[in-house]
Symmetry: D2
Subunit: 356 residues, 4 copies
């Protein structure tokens, strides 16, 4: 598969750099006759948009999406759907320092090592700006999944501060700037992020995404596993360093008499007494909520000077001023939701192909 595409049947190809004229994507494989308009996509983009609180970058991008193809008289036609967002806020400021210097934690060094050239303006292709197209594609994926499937994400940890899962309230996520489901954690997170910003540094986060209403049977054994595809999808989000499904790493500390979710019978069929599986057994969905969790490292662009070298091999220091998220994990929530939606939509089509 080419490096800028994702999915087998519901297939997203993205393009564009942070400071080029535009970013966009092509979404191929969408079933026909699904009602679709920009207004189905824009709200998801707005959730991700910069500038919505002091805890995310203050860059101003309206991120207005346009559908350029694949929709006719308000419905999908089965042809590829091209989406485009103009880059508005690509200030022609001085990128000289970034041109020469490899920023620690960023992809500057590796792009140079691989390609021998890089668009250093704002991170170029490696910029998290690309994730806007994932969110847009995810909105289309959500239309394929239909109303029966609900996908929601939340930040469950920032830096050293983890929520109390007992207080989990999905409604709360919309009421604070952190997508935090635990109201009681919000003040501490505010303080921690304000402290980090004042100290010229940044914090990491853990995000949890849950899909309910997923029918049993999606996924496939061995190399088309639903959980393996979710792992790739989440790990492929910028700055992500770890992915878990269900109990995740905690499963390693369990004994076998508690880890496997027991099964009982109800009038609606078999049900599970727990969800350590995270909704996936043997790579195939169980019908329970599909639960993925991922760790986002702290924003690498910080004011604190860090040691590095230049492209010409001189040792130097670099510090990044400007408009950066103190915790990129926060804005990763809608991106994680979108990736969940894309993976599930792809597997829904794959399942329909093989199993009718």
């Amino acid at each position: 598969m080419a490096s800028n595409s994702f999915g087998l049947l519901f297939r997203v190809t993205t393009w564009g750099e942070s400071h080029g004229p535009a970013i966009g994507c092509v979404v191929d494989g969408v079933p026909p006759r699904i009602p679709l308009a920009e207004s189905d996509i824009q709200p998801a983009l707005d959730r991700r948009r910069p500038g919505s609180s002091r805890f995310v970058t203050q860059r101003r991008e309206s991120d207005t999406v346009r559908i350029l193809s694949g929709v006719f008289e308000g419905r999908t036609t089965g042809s590829p759907i091209a989406l485009l967002i103009e880059n508005e806020d690509a200030r022609s400021r001085d990128y000289g320092p970034l041109k020469e210097t490899y920023r620690p934690g960023h992809a500057d060094f590796t792009y140079e090592a691989k390609y021998g050239i890089r668009d250093y303006r704002g991170g170029g292709r490696a910029s998290a700006r690309e994730t806007a197209m994932r969110v847009a594609a995810g909105a289309i994926a959500g239309k394929i999944l239909g109303d029966g499937v609900t996908i929601r994400g939340a930040v469950i940890r920032i830096g050293g501060l983890t929520i109390d899962r007992e207080r989990w309230d999905w409604e709360e996520c919309a009421r604070n700037p952190f997508f935090c489901p635990d109201a009681a954690s919000v003040p501490a997170w505010e303080a921690a992020l304000d402290d980090a910003r004042k100290a010229g540094t940044s914090l990491g986060a853990v995000i949890e995404v849950e899909a309910t209403g997923v029918p049993a049977g999606l996924g496939a054994p061995v190399y088309g596993k639903l959980d393996a595809d979710l792992a790739a999808a989440m790990m492929g989000i910028n700055a992500v360093k770890g992915v878990e499904i269900g109990a995740g790493f905690a499963a390693a500390a369990m004994s076998g008499d508690v880890s496997g979710d027991e099964i009982r019978m109800s009038d609606d069929g078999p049900y599970f007494l727990g969800n350590n599986a995270g909704g996936v057994l043997g790579g195939i969905s169980t019908g329970q909520p599909v639960v993925a969790r991922f760790a986002v490292k702290p924003t690498s662009s910080i004011r604190t000077p860090r040691r590095t070298v230049t492209a010409t091999g001189e040792e130097t220091e670099v510090s990044t001023g400007g408009r950066h998220d103190p915790c990129v994990g926060i804005r990763a929530v809608p991106v994680g939701e979108a990736m969940m939606a894309c993976v599930l939509a792809d597997h829904l089509l794959r399942h329909r192909a093989q199993c009718g």
Copy 2:
């Protein structure tokens, strides 16, 4: 891509069920003129083989691999390499209970939900027996990577017992039945596993795999990321519930002034002062060791009875006697090494294609 293949250019397709006549794989895309014989593959299989200690299943399979194509006069020809292992120990015992009952933690229920049919003998396609072919393919991948790349794996945690990384000694891994790099942890692990077995239960584990000598520049941005492909590869191993690269979930608890690995200059070029990145930045290798870690849940087949239902919807209990690993994570070490090798070989070829 079909569900039983893995990789884009170094491409492995596996087939076979636990209790069918044989298992096998086709390895396509191998460069020509690489010396290859069964004796290059068999040692890796022997490391994974059952029956080597009381801590792994006592099934007896010689797992003798045959090369059926793609090698001529001792060298690869560029044509697909077919490998085959006969199933020797597929006892024709009574599978009646498994036929009717969904074992908790296993894929019985989901296979039935997806396909409406399942080969219930020994787990069928979902059996970890399939991983023998991954190990075999990994040995070929290792030949492509060459002597400059070293891939090693270790168990770093069993149940609640984690090694002391200060005592890490790779040599030690070959001296104990756990691939444990910390000699001091071995007695406690022995005791814990003996206890678990006596209690009719099992334990989980965490495995770490490291590749050294990987050149900078492998991988690709956005959807062909090296770490995303590693995540899929590791998560796709049976019983794996979590994957980390470098600092992994610990990165979420770091602040930005420590997480990004700083860079300095040596006579050999830039080097990093840490490896929180796990050898990957922006989806592309840095030249540092590539470090992946994954969590394996406890063996689901245990003697302790667990509540479940039958295919016809009756509540019942199931307990699994017989020859099962008390900790499947142990034998996952060579599998994890193999998946690392396969992903790296694939990306080596992909890099050569685009960047020459």
Copy 3:
């Protein structure tokens, strides 16, 4: 996609050389619960088998196929189906001359140019022996398509002798050794082939394959066109140099007022007054018979000496004795039918994925 696989969702991966221990394939993506046994596949192989008349090679291979996986209690499980045929008649004769000499019309030179190594025994991977696996896979594809779809092939030309389409009788194909639908052409073809063999040469052929009962709507626009996939499938058969759909090259000589098939209405819906389209418009099936035609060059292995060079650059001549088909086109009929079946099965699954 790797070079030894074919199809997106119904996916066939073949392996094996002419004179290795065996040839085989893996068929992935097969829907579950389809009744399948060796006896569903063997008849198709028998139609292709050498030695059935004096007009095809007298090599003796029973070509007995074994199913090694993916079938349980007589039905497909959705897991990959591995098929294997042992090579019985790989005589260990003297391949010295072939080792050193590039045979005109064969792939000896190009394999050497590409890989720097080749399995010269009987053509190795380039041998038409590989097509046995296509035929086997085609039999499985046929089971997916079901009884409503009928696929039949015929030789319509050998050398300079073309059938009279007015006399076309499908029943006749089974009564002569040429798959010739025109009984009146048979004696002339016999004479021509006997003459060619006596003269130490060989003849080309044109094959036509037709699929009836294909529903309208299979295929896809632009790059997943049904006719483009058929073109690749047929051109990929050994020795094929041309492919046509429907009117084919004759369409170039038509004027627009006759080429487009007009449409009328019946009680069963719209129908076409002709089939210049060959059952495909805009890459999508029309519901009419899908008609593909392909040209097979004469067998390159002939007794007549031909000028060539050796691997070490010396000019020489080569003539091929032994057991070769005087017209490889004849045995290409079941192969063409199989490729038609594989392409249609793949597109049936693809259509089901996107359009439900």
Copy 4:
């Protein structure tokens, strides 16, 4: 592979409808550091552009291409290259008749059958307008192939009139509106096309495309054959019904003692005494010119009324006024060249991956 993408490593994904706001494509897998600007692409588009003579449609589209990503400071970066052309001449005229009526020879009926919806304006996704993006992608492919590879196409037949190959002069192609290499054929073609237009009909054509300078060794055996990929590429062009490589269908009429190209030795290595192979043996390039030929059916949009039915099942007639090519084959020449370039570039990268 998704239906709107083409190629494995040099991968083109196109989108857009004839009368939407724009058409575009994403070209992924391009090696880095290749000089590239719009001015490298525009000339190829201009060759294909409507309105250049009375023998092609008089629609006016400047077809001005913009590069939106993947190029930085005049060189490719290795990131995906997005190209976009605004649709200028999408007149908002009355498409009512096309909305209801299936035009013979067009994809109206099949799109409706597949998707249950279609963008009927100007053919929507099925319009030959899409081929502009193929031409643009082909220009980039040409940059990858480099100056050593020359790709040229010519019309060798219009309707019943075939050129005299003895008079072949590539220079001539640029001097007439038909890409005709035989000056003496031009007047007759002019007359034939004028006649066809006056008669309210159209003519078919045969195009030949040749690539010289292609190194031996590109392609792959069995399912990645260079000729099979070319066949798919050419057959996938709108209105194409047949494809040949080298001698093509004429090979079927040859005997084996003339069809296989003999080989002799020169100071530069082996060379062939003919090119019936069309530069491909066993799916791999020989180093000779790669020669593909394809048949284009007559334009289906003609003034002559044709019988058809409406979407609601009423019998009617349809005739197409307006600005249509009397022979779409003419403008297929740059498209065929582009597809040749794309296939070769893809195989160049694939070869480099496997064989270094």
